[in-house]
Symmetry: C2
Subunit: 350 residues, 2 copies
DNA sequence: CGCAGGCTTGTAACCGCTTACAGAAACCGC
DNA sequence: GCGGTTTCTGTAAGCGGTTACAAGCCTGCG
C-alpha cells in the first residue's frame, strides 16, 4: 500500500484529491460533485456550498485526462509544423494561441524534424480533438496515410488534400499586385527572380507575375533563383553590368530581393530611380534595410488564427453530425497585401 | 474508395478501433493486445503476429488519453509562457522541442495573456507530467498559489521560487559586460533604455548597467522603454535631436537597440563613431542589420532545452521516489556573453 | 506418472471522471 | 390522501487502456 491516506482527507503534497475524496468529505455522491463542477444540472444551493467547501478544503482540481476520456473531448488541438525559424514561427503560433485561448483550447505542439516524426502524428489520437497541419514539403499522399483517422484537420499551405480543409496563401494575387505596382510606377521591362522550379509557392508567384505583366503590357523575363540572397546578388550584378536589361526586379522572396538591391547599390545603380525592386514575404528585415524594401506581406498571425477557428468549427460540426463527411473542404485563401516602401516608386514617372 | 472493413470490425470513418476490437478480431484477450503493443511481457511469436495483423487490418492506434489515465503518465509537458513575440520565443520553443522530441515528450503550450489565464494552469493537471513556467512579470506568491500541487516544475527566469528549480539568466552580469565594453570604447554618457519597470529581467539588467557604469566612471541615464522597437526609435530621435546627450546607448533588448540605431542613422548620426549602440538578447536579426548590432547573447534554444531536460529529470525522479520533496531546487544560472559587432568600438579612442 | 516451476494467456479491477437511469423527496391540484 | 409532476440525488456503467493475479499449458525431472 503506497500513499497512506488519512481516512477522511488525503492530498498532502504529492497525491491529488479525486472526486471521490471530495464526495466523501462532503458526504454526497460523486455524481453530485461532478454536477456542481460542471454546473449544468440542477443542484440545491446547500449541496453546492457543501461540495465547494469540501473541494476548497482538499484543494481539489479535476483531472483533465480522466474528464477527456469520459467526455471524448480533450480540449486541445494538435499543431504540426515543420522545423521553422524566426518570426514566421512565432507569429503563426501567436495567432493560433490568440484564437485557441479565447476558445479555451490548448495547443499541443509537434515539430516534424525533416520527415521524421510522422509517426508521432498518429500518436496524437486521444490527446487532441483536431489537428492543424503545416507540411509544405511533404507528399500529400504520405501525409494522408499518416493522418489519424476520424480526427478533424485543417491544412496550412500544403499541397491540395482531398476532403480536408486547406488554407492557402494566394501567391498569384500577391505576385500580381507587386508586378502591377511596378508597372504603375513606370516599369516596362521587369525581371522576375523566381524560386526553385519544384516549389509550389514559387510556381504560383511566377504565374501571378506573368499574368499581371502581360495585362499591364510589360515584358517579364524569368531567372530561376533558389530563395537565397546569392541568387539575387547575381541578378543584381547582371543588371548593373547591363548584361540584363531591366527597369524593375521582382523577386519571389525578400532575401533574393535584398541581394539584388544591395548589388545594384554597390554598382552605383539608383534604387528605385533607375531600377525598382520588390520582394515577397515581408520579413522583418525588409523594412530595416535601406532603402526599405517594398514587399508582399502576409498576415501570418491572422492565418494561424483562421486555421484554428476553422478547425474549431469542424470539431463542433463533427460533434453534432458525427455521421457525414466533415463539411466539404472548400479551400480558403489568404490574400496577401502589398507593403509599399522605398525601393519602388509610388506613381508613374511619365 | 474507402477501405472495405470486415464486418466484425466497426470503425468506418469516424470511429476508431479500440483495443477490444483488435482483441476480438485476433481472437485473444485485451491484455494480450496490450502486451504486444507495449512489448515488455513475454508473448509467443504467433500471438504477436496475430495481434499485429488484426491491428493493421483495423488501423488500430492506441488511445493516448486512456493510456495516460491508467499509467498516470501523459507523455506531455506544459509550457507556460508570457505573451510571446519574435525570435526569442521561437528560439526558446525550438530548444524545448529539440529536447522534448528526443525524449518523446509533447509540448502543451499555454500563454498567459497579461495575468489572465492563471486558472488554465491548474487545469493542466492530468494533461501533463510537468511544467516549465516562464512568468517574469508575475508575483512569485501568486504564481505559487496557482501551481497545480504535486506536478514537477521548472521555472525559467522567474522571481526565486522556494522549493522549485529555477533557471535564470544572469542579467546583471550580461548588462555589466555590455556597459563595461561601451565604457572601454570611450563612452562617458551612456543612456540605458530599460524594459518595463515591473519586469524582473528589466530590473536586473538596469541594476547591472548601473553598477558597471558607476565602476567605470561613466554616467548612466535611464529611460524606461517597453521592449518594443518604437521605444528605441523615440530615444534615438531624442539623441539625434540633441535633446538627450549621449555617446552610447545600451538597450535592454535588441529590438529597442535596433529602433534606436535606425533612428540615429536616419538622422545622420554615425554609429558607432558618434554614438555606440548595444542591445541584449542577440536575436538573429542583430547580425543582419547594418551596422551589425553588438549584443549580449544568450543561447536561448539551449536554455529551453536545459529547462526541459531538468524537468524530465525531475519527473523521472518523482516517479521512482514519490514520497520525498522533489530534490531541492538548486537554482541554475545561465551566463550570457557579449557579441561584439559593428555598432560599438572595440578599443578606447582616447 | 506426478509434480514443481517457467511461459503464456485470460479475467477483472482499477485510473478519475461523466451521465443515463432510477429512486427519493417535495409539491401540486383535486 | 392520492396519483402525477417536478426537482434533486445516488448507483453503476461506461470511456480505452494497463496490470495484478490466477489459471492453463508445457517442460523436465525424479
Amino acid at each position: 500500500m503506497s500513499p497512506a491516506r488519512p481516512d477522511s482527507a488525503p492530498a498532502t503534497r504529492g497525491a491529488h484529491a479525486t472526486i471521490h475524496d471530495v464526495a466523501r468529505v462532503a458526504g454526497v455522491s460523486v455524481a453530485s460533485v461532478s454536477r456542481v463542477f460542471n454546473g449544468r444540472d440542477h443542484v440545491r444551493a446547500e449541496m453546492r456550498t457543501r461540495v465547494e467547501d469540501a473541494a476548497a478544503q482538499l484543494g481539489y482540481v479535476p483531472h483533465a485526462g480522466a474528464r477527456s476520456l469520459s467526455m471524448a473531448r480533450t480540449g486541445a488541438i494538435g499543431v504540426v509544423l515543420p522545423d521553422l525559424h524566426g518570426e514566421f514561427f512565432s507569429e503563426l503560433l501567436r495567432g493560433m494561441d490568440r484564437e485557441a485561448s479565447t476558445r479555451r483550447l490548448g495547443l499541443l505542439l509537434t515539430v516534424l524534424h525533416d520527415g521524421r516524426g510522422l509517426d508521432t502524428l498518429t500518436a496524437l489520437r486521444g490527446q487532441v480533438d483536431g489537428l492543424v497541419v503545416m507540411a509544405p514539403e511533404l507528399d500529400p499522399d504520405v501525409l494522408a496515410r499518416h493522418m489519424p483517422r476520424g480526427l478533424a484537420a485543417v491544412f496550412l499551405a500544403c499541397a491540395p488534400q482531398v476532403g480536408s480543409l486547406n488554407l492557402r496563401i494566394d501567391n498569384r494575387a500577391g505576385a500580381a499586385a507587386a508586378v502591377r505596382h511596378l508597372a504603375a510606377g513606370g516599369a516596362k521591362r521587369i525581371v522576375h527572380i523566381s524560386g526553385p522550379a519544384g516549389n509550389l509557392d514559387a510556381q504560383e508567384r511566377r504565374a501571378g507575375a506573368e499574368a499581371a505583366a502581360a495585362e499591364a503590357g510589360a515584358t517579364l523575363s524569368v531567372i530561376e533563383g533558389d530563395f537565397l540572397e546569392a541568387s539575387g546578388t547575381m541578378v543584381g550584378e547582371r543588371v548593373a553590368a547591363g548584361t540584363l536589361e531591366a527597369d524593375a526586379i521582382f523577386a519571389a522572396n525578400d532575401m533574393m530581393a535584398i541581394g539584388a538591391m544591395m548589388a545594384l547599390k554597390r554598382h552605383g545603380v539608383a534604387v528605385p530611380e533607375q531600377v525598382a525592386v520588390a520582394g515577397f514575404d515581408d520579413i522583418p528585415l525588409a523594412r530595416l534595410v535601406s532603402p526599405a524594401l517594398t514587399s508582399v506581406a502576409i498576415d501570418i498571425a491572422a492565418m494561424g488564427a483562421r486555421a484554428v477557428a476553422q478547425l474549431a468549427a469542424r470539431i463542433a460540426g463533427a460533434r453534432e453530425q458525427p455521421s457525414g463527411d466533415a463539411s466539404t473542404g472548400a479551400d480558403e485563401v489568404i490574400v496577401p497585401h502589398l507593403m509599399v516602401r522605398e525601393t519602388t516608386r509610388e506613381t508613374d514617372r511619365g
